[in-house]
């Protein structure tokens, strides 16, 4: 096999074997039979000489000519001639001064194919890869020899990969390739190109020799595509889940510890997003160089702003309503209306522009899936917030007290825990986390006064589904709902998927009225 190829190679490229200089071959272009001239074109193209491109382009365009006066090879453009080899101007010429180098259709096709392979011998591997991709896009059997020559020299892995695919593409359309070669080429393309090759492989189903190979290749591609689709759905579900986790986790701890639903939670998320906007505005006007740090600066600020509001709400309103959870719900709804309108009055009702720092824009390719950096960072951030809360709850005195109050408020008070202080701090912590969520959501959502409204029902669902006051429950709830939502979307459409999930949760509460991970204790008994 290899021997045959080698022999073929030698047969096809006699010009190269003769080791004539570029100039000599070029000067011989007008002479001899069309077959000889085609060989010379191949030789020029594979020479790697930078002059080859202009020369061959002129040849195919009919602009290459021989000066009658001194026999020099020139390129004629708009009545002025340039020496084709030295590049010097050769004065203005008329049609009578020159003899055009003749080309027929056959040779023209050959030159075009040769032009396509010019890049294959370029200096940089990137240029060679590009050229191989061009060959792959428009394969021509005439390019086979140049490709094989390039392959035998190629050392760069990426360029080699591209060349192999290009060669396979050419083999698929080459009339004189053996069925074995073509089947091999088909397998290579199907393996490396996946779904993008489907269009190229499908016509081969009518080719009796390749029918079976094409069918298996298509089936493989479809299987791989389906797998990729599932991967993508899973990723989107995880991404939505992390957003839900961020939005719901603060709500969950205040509900768990204080037994109250903070209806203003969504608005605290919105305030976090507006804090990011403010930070970016200040940075834009005073220190544009810090823009990439804007989120890092906004995080503590957003936490402080929203935690302060949260503590104020707890001290001013929620504290007076303990034992009446439904009234708390109404009062915090009032707070949410006021916060919403306040933001609308100050910043206007329209969306505000919050930019992505450079490290959050763009995307990365993982296993054939294109994952955007902002989604990846938000997922990591959500998990970090979860870990941070876990640490607070498990490793700090406040966390211990919070868990004690969640389980049995009266007993905790008997043991000397200042439950009022724990309530205020919990509320502040929950609100602060809403602020952190706002910073993250400002990167993927519209920053408008209605930002919080979009998440409030969903985050309630997460809390109810996972079980109030349980961090693990919130985590499980958020990711389950996120993934189920994305799985259902292609089946039923975005809106109907949401409706189905809400119905599912309403039914789920039948079986487990306290959620997936019910908190043991008394605080949740309304």
């Amino acid at each position: 096999m290899r021997l045959i190829r080698l022999i073929l190679l030698c047969l096809i490229m006699p010009a190269a074997a003769l080791a004539q200089s570029f100039e000599e071959i070029a000067r011989a272009l007008p002479e001899g039979s069309y077959d000889d001239r085609a060989d010379r074109v191949s030789a020029l193209a594979s020479s790697g000489d930078p002059r080859a491109e202009a020369l061959l382009t002129a040849l195919v365009g009919g602009d290459l000519a021989v000066l009658k006066s001194d026999g020099r090879l020139v390129i004629v453009t708009d009545g002025s001639a340039t020496d084709a080899l030295s590049g010097d101007p050769a004065g203005s010429v008329t049609r009578r001064d020159v003899t055009p180098v003749r080309v027929n259709n056959n040779l023209r096709g050959h030159v075009r194919a040769a032009l396509g392979t010019l890049g294959l011998v370029a200096e940089s591997p990137a240029a060679r890869t590009r050229a191989a991709a061009q060959v792959e896009a428009a394969p021509d059997p005439a390019q086979l020899s140049a490709l094989e020559a390039a392959l035998s020299r190629e050392t760069d892995t990426k360029a080699r990969d591209a060349l192999e695919i290009a060669r396979a593409s050419v083999l698929l359309v080459a009339p004189d390739a053996t069925p074995d070669e073509r089947a091999e080429a088909l397998a290579l393309i199907a393996e490396r190109r996946g779904a993008a090759a489907q269009g190229r492989i499908r016509p081969l189903l009518s080719d009796p020799a390749l029918k079976d190979a094409a069918r298996t290749a298509l089936a493989d591609i479809e299987r791989a595509e389906a797998l990729r689709g599932w991967g993508l759905t899973l990723w989107q579900g995880l991404s939505l889940g992390s957003v839900l986790l961020l939005a719901a986790i603060g709500l969950s701890i205040t509900f768990g510890v204080c037994g109250v639903i903070n209806m203003a939670h969504g608005e605290l998320v919105m305030l976090g997003a507006y804090t990011t906007f403010m930070v970016q505005e200040v940075i834009r006007t005073h220190a544009p160089g810090l823009f990439d740090w804007s989120l890092a600066i906004a995080l503590p600020l957003a936490f402080l702003v929203t935690a302060a509001i949260g503590i104020a709400v707890e001290r001013g309103i929620v504290r007076r309503l303990y034992g009446r959870p439904l009234e708390t719900l109404l009062a915090t709804w009032g707070v949410s209306l006021i916060l919403q309108q306040a933001v609308r009055s100050i910043f206007g009702p329209n969306n505000r522009q919050v930019g992505n720092p450079s490290w959050m824009s763009g995307s990365v390719e993982v296993l054939g899936l294109s994952l955007t950096w902002n989604r990846i960072w938000i997922m990591l951030f959500a998990l970090a917030v979860f870990g941070f809360l876990m640490l607070v709850l498990r490793r700090t005195a406040l966390g211990l007290q919070m868990r004690a109050v969640t389980q049995n408020r009266a007993m905790a008070a008997e043991m000397g825990i200042r439950t009022g202080r724990v309530d205020a701090l919990t509320f502040g912590l929950g609100a602060g986390i809403a602020g952190l969520a706002g910073v993250a959501l400002s990167q993927i959502d519209n920053v408008s006064p209605n930002l919080g409204q979009g998440y409030i029902v969903d985050s309630f669902m997460v809390v109810v589904f996972g079980g109030a006051g349980s961090l693990w429950g919130t985590l499980a709830g958020a990711f389950t709902l996120g993934i189920v939502n994305k799985l259902a979307e292609p089946l039923a459409g975005a809106m109907l998927a949401k409706v189905m999930i809400l119905i599912f949760i309403i039914l789920f509460i039948q079986k487990r009225p306290r959620g997936l991970f019910p908190t043991r204790g008394r605080a949740v008994e309304g």
Partner: protein, 358 residues
Amino acid sequence: MRLIDRNMTVFLGGLFILTVAIPLMQGNILPGYAIQLAGKYLCYALLAVALDLVWGYAGILSLGHGAFFALGAYVMGMHLMREIGTRGVYANPELPDFMVFLNWDSLPWYWLASGSFAATLALILLVPGCLAFVFGWFAFRARVSGVYLSIITQAMTYALMLAFFRNEMGFGGNNGLTDFKDLLGVSLSSPEMRLVLFIASALALAGGLLLARAITASHLGRVLVAIRDAESRTRFLGYRVEHYKLFVWTVSAMMAGVAGALYVPQVGIVNPGEFAPANSIEVVIWVALGGRGTLAGAALGAIMVALTRTLLTGWLPDAWLYALGALFILVTLYLPKGIVGALGDLRPARKQSKEVPA
């Protein structure tokens, strides 16, 4: 317990006087749209009474009563759409305009009954009633209560809102149902029809109040209050708590549906925005302001808030949400029994202070 107590007498008397006075004053003292506006307020009041029945007496804080209201409204809206007939833009005798626009060739099955007024009247009760029955059946049997119940009622209305926004549902999608022409052959914009709708709203409100009062004043009503105040204890006494709750919940939803059905011909449009959770929560503050568990107070609260809203959005549009937000906070903090409840507290206190020196 008397069926018509003091509060009820005062409120029904006031309602009667207004029902007579507003049509008389319209055009001279009050602006020309006063009847329509007042009719709208009365529908709100009926919705508030429906909510008070479940929240005030059975302790079920529904954040989704707007859904039942909107369902009643849609049933009525469908009938009004059918009455447009060939006067629509596309002049299709059978299909409403939006269906022609969506290239539908026949009415979906759930639109078939809407051609008949009698069937529509039945559906106004049945559609919200059935939804409430099914929802309540699941929720109360699983002993979902307190904030959990509030949250899933909110989810219910939110889900319905999303569903009704879809064009494929066949309820006009985003735009809802509008461009109504007449009801029972009489133009909706004629003064007679407006007067009839206004009086019908007043009668529905009075009827709703009396029905709610009859329920709450009965033995069943006392069991409901017992459930509200100590659910487990009531259950241990042998009462099937979920049956009581389910009954009052379904009645309340039907009442809300009637309110919605009367509302639509007076405002001329119904769209999925009626299902918005914020609307349902606003109803709660009407009840809280007027006085939870006072029925007449709830109706009064609805009218007061709606009137304030109309006036304030006219004068200072930005101030309305501040005012509403403040109302939520101040009423829950300082007026837990609402206006009627606070007035009620004043009276026995005076009586007692007279008795003590004697």
